[in-house]
Symmetry: C2
Subunit: 152 residues, 2 copies
């Protein structure tokens, strides 16, 4: 049996925290492109090539509006809110699935007065996200749903 792995069993604690999993709030200052969001890496096994992370935004928090070559496979795990992928904005609830294709602009927002948490499966080796230019933001805002979403 492989002996390089960590513990086999890691029980869940209260409030979407886990034994032996670091809780990593993103540092934010006045110019941060995100708000009140944290990350926990649940699985990072070299043999798998993918990671499974849990992201959580507090009420009114949001993830960075970004895009990249790599794909995200998302399952909502906690709470309600909204998600933008490309020019589509949807309300999301626990267990909903969201596929974020290569180069699609995307953002999650905890718009329902409660925390919004989701699992995200992603390649361990991946490109860095790009942020939108002012011209790209203007083009996004041409879609009324997106404009409303981005205005919070």
């Amino acid at each position: 049996m492989d002996t390089e792995h960590g513990p086999v069993f890691r029980p869940a604690q209260h409030d979407f925290r886990w034994d032996g999993v670091a809780h990593l709030p993103y540092k934010q200052d006045g110019s941060a492109p995100f708000k009140d969001i944290s990350r926990q890496v649940l699985f990072h096994e070299a043999a798998l090539g993918c990671e499974l992370r849990y992201f959580e935004m507090e009420a009114d928090g949001y993830s960075t509006l970004e895009r990249h070559e790599h794909t995200h496979a998302v399952m909502i795990l906690r709470g309600h809110g909204q998600c933008m992928v490309g020019t589509e904005v949807r309300a999301v609830k626990p267990l909903d699935l969201v596929t974020i294709p290569a180069w699609a602009w995307h953002q999650f927002r905890a718009t329902d007065g409660e925390a919004l948490g989701f699992l995200c499966m992603v390649n361990q080796v991946r490109d860095r996200p790009a942020l939108p230019t002012e011209a790209e933001l203007q083009a996004m805002r041409a879609h009324p749903d997106v404009a409303r979403f981005l205005a919070g």
Copy 2:
């Protein structure tokens, strides 16, 4: 944007089913090494190299007792039950994490009178599972916790 992917948003339905995801009960006959278990493949994106599946056992159901080279990364999503990995048996509950290392014997059992469901992240390309020989089963049963678990 990549246009080869399926729908971006797939809302959850009632009872751990999803829009656009096939529900695949395993066929069983008298000699089947599993009982009352189904599989749903939630994500299978070529770019990721991994899949995310949801397995569910009905009350008193169990998964196949098996082992293989490939690794499983598991999160319990529904209900309570028991899980064996190697010679360790643990009660599991929603959100608990289980890492199944290469070549560890493993099985899940819905022992608590309710359905037990879990997410499983796995490589898309993987080796076939091996079933235990009678000698291997006897060696497993030398561990009292395992013997009790396997007796159901």
